[in-house]
C-alpha cells in the first residue's frame, strides 16, 4: 500500500515541452516559421528560431555556439561540422532540396540569358563565398557561360533573405534567390537544377546542444508527413 502511494506520488509529471533553440538557413524563413507555429499547436511549445547565413552559423557552431538543431542550406557545411565531431551524427537528416529562381523588381526575367539585357543594371545574388544559394547561383551562371558577362552587374547579399530584399526594394533589377522565399508571393522563373550542384538541405543536432532531445523532437516533427507537406508547399523538393 505504502509502496503504491509512493509510486503514485513519485510518478513524474507529464514532461514539460522544452522549446528547442534552432539555427536555420534563411531560405527556411517562411516554411520553418509556419512549422514552428504548427509545432506549438501540436506539442505545446514553440521552437526558438534564428535565421541567417548557413556559413555564418557553421562558423558559430565551430566556435561553440549552443543550438539544439541546425538546418543548413547545403550538406557540405554539415560535412564540415561532422568532420570535426561537432554533431550528433545519428541525428543527421536530409529535409529537402532547394531550388533557385529568377526574380525581378518588375516582371521576372524569363531566362538566365536575359540577364545580359541592358535593362538589368544590377543582379543580386547571395555571397557565393559562404551562402549556398549564392554558390549555386554562381555555378548556374558559369554553366550557362554568363558569369564573366554579368560580373559588372553583380551585387552580393549577405544571405539569401537579404538578397531578396535588394530586389524587393527595387534596387537590384533582378536576383537569383531561393524558391522557398518567394513561392507564395511573387512571380518567378525556375532555374534548371541541372545547372548547379544539388542544394541538398541537411539538418543535424550539434554536440553543443543544451537540450539535444528537444532538437531531435522538432526535427522528427519536420520530417513527419505533416511537416514534409509544409516544406513541399514552400518549394522544397524531396
Amino acid at each position: 500500500m505504502i509502496a503504491l502511494l509512493l509510486a503514485l506520488g513519485c510518478r513524474p509529471e507529464p514532461e514539460a515541452c522544452v522549446p528547442p533553440v534552432v539555427l536555420a538557413a534563411s531560405d527556411l524563413q517562411h516554411a520553418l516559421t509556419e512549422l514552428g507555429e504548427l509545432y506549438r499547436q501540436r506539442v505545446g511549445c514553440a521552437p526558438l528560431l534564428s535565421f541567417g547565413s548557413t556559413g555564418a552559423y557553421t562558423s558559430q557552431i565551430e566556435q561553440g555556439a549552443r543550438a539544439d538543431l541546425f538546418f543548413a542550406a547545403n550538406a557540405s557545411f554539415i560535412d564540415r561540422l561532422q568532420s570535426q565531431a561537432l554533431l550528433h551524427e545519428d541525428s543527421r537528416m536530409v529535409y529537402g532540396t532547394g531550388r533557385l529562381v529568377l526574380v525581378g523588381s518588375a516582371a521576372p526575367p524569363p531566362s538566365l540569358a536575359s540577364l545580359t539585357d541592358p535593362g538589368i543594371r544590377y543582379l543580386a545574388i547571395a555571397n557565393p563565398e559562404h551562402a549556398p544559394y549564392g554558390l549555386a547561383a554562381q555555378q548556374a551562371l558559369q554553366a550557362s557561360g554568363l558569369w564573366e558577362e554579368v560580373q559588372p552587374r553583380l551585387v552580393r547579399g549577405e544571405n539569401i533573405a537579404q538578397t531578396w530584399q535588394l530586389v524587393q526594394t527595387g534596387n537590384a533589377d533582378a536576383g537569383i534567390v531561393a524558391l522557398s522565399l518567394v513561392v507564395e508571393s511573387t512571380p518567378y522563373t525556375l532555374i534548371d537544377s541541372s545547372l548547379h550542384e544539388p542544394l541538398v538541405q541537411v539538418a543535424a543536432v550539434p554536440r553543443s546542444a543544451e537540450h539535444p532531445q528537444a532538437g531531435r523532437d522538432f526535427l522528427a516533427f519536420v520530417m513527419a508527413p505533416e511537416g514534409r507537406a509544409v516544406l513541399q508547399r514552400y518549394g522544397f523538393g524531396p
Binding site: S53, G55, A56, T58, S59, R80, R121, Y122, A124, N127, E129, H130, L154, V155, R156, E158, Q162, Q165, L166, T169, G170, N171
Partner: protein, 215 residues
C-alpha cells in the same frame, strides 16, 4: 590587400571629413538652443547609434534607393544609381559616424564660457568669424576627440555598408566587410590578417590625430 586597405581608408576618410564639415556647425547650433525642436534634433542625430546596423542599412536603402526621391535625383544628375557605389559606402559610414562627433562637439561648445564670444561680438566680429576664430579653437579638444571617434566608427562600419553598397569585391568592399566575409567562409587566416592590418592602420591614424590635436 593593399587596395582593400586604401579603399577603406578613402571611404572612412571622406566620410569623416563630411562628418566634421556637417557635424561641427550642427553641434554649435544645438549647443546653445533649448526647447522642443533642439531636443528632438539632438535625439534624432543619435538614432544611428541606437538602430541595429542592418536595420539602419535597410532604412537607408529605402531612403536613398532607386525608388526614392533622393535616389532618383542622384540618378538624374549623375546618370547612375547611388546604391552599390563607393559613394553609398561613404554615405553609410557618414550616417553611422555623425552622432559620435556631434555629441562630443556639442558638449565641448556647451562648456565654452559665453563671455569670450560676447567680447568678440563687442569688438564687431561677425558671427561666422566668431564661430571660426573663437568657438572652434576653444572647443578644439572636443571636436578632435569626436572626429577621432567618428573616424574609428567609419572604419568599422559594416551593417549599413553591406546593405547599401553591396559588398562588391574591388569596388565597394571595405576591410570590415572583407573580415566578415572571410570569417563566414572559414578563411580564418585571411580574416586575422585583414583584422590586424585594419587595427594597426586605424590605431596609428588615431594616435597621430590625438598627438596633433592635443597640441
Amino acid at each position: 590587400m593593399l587596395d582593400l586597405m586604401l579603399r577603406s581608408l578613402l571611404i572612412a576618410g571622406l566620410a569623416s571629413l563630411a562628418v566634421v564639415a556637417v557635424g561641427v556647425p550642427f553641434a554649435r547650433l544645438l549647443a546653445r538652443r533649448r526647447g522642443l525642436w533642439a531636443e528632438l534634433l539632438s535625439t534624432l542625430v543619435l538614432l544611428p547609434m541606437i538602430l541595429p546596423p542592418t536595420v539602419l542599412g535597410y532604412v537607408l536603402l529605402l531612403l536613398i534607393g532607386r525608388g526614392s526621391p533622393v535616389g532618383q535625383t542622384w540618378e538624374a544628375l549623375t546618370g547612375s544609381p547611388l546604391v552599390f557605389t563607393p559613394a553609398a559606402a561613404v554615405l553609410a559610414a557618414f550616417v553611422a559616424a555623425l552622432p559620435f562627433l556631434v555629441r562630443a562637439a556639442q558638449s565641448a561648445f556647451e562648456q565654452i564660457d559665453p563671455h569670450f564670444e560676447d567680447v568678440a561680438r563687442t569688438l564687431g566680429r561677425t558671427e561666422l568669424d566668431i564661430f571660426l576664430r573663437v568657438s572652434i579653437p576653444l572647443a578644439r579638444r572636443g571636436i578632435v576627440g569626436g572626429a577621432a571617434l567618428a573616424f574609428a566608427r567609419a572604419m568599422g562600419e559594416f551593417g549599413a555598408t553591406a546593405m547599401i553598397a553591396g559588398s562588391i569585391p574591388g569596388r565597394t568592399q571595405t576591410a570590415s566587410l572583407a573580415v566578415y566575409d572571410a570569417v563566414q567562409a572559414g578563411r580564418t587566416a585571411d580574416a586575422g590578417l585583414i583584422a590586424l592590418l585594419l587595427a594597426l592602420l586605424s590605431a596609428s591614424i588615431l594616435f597621430a590625430v590625438g598627438r596633433t590635436g592635443a597640441r
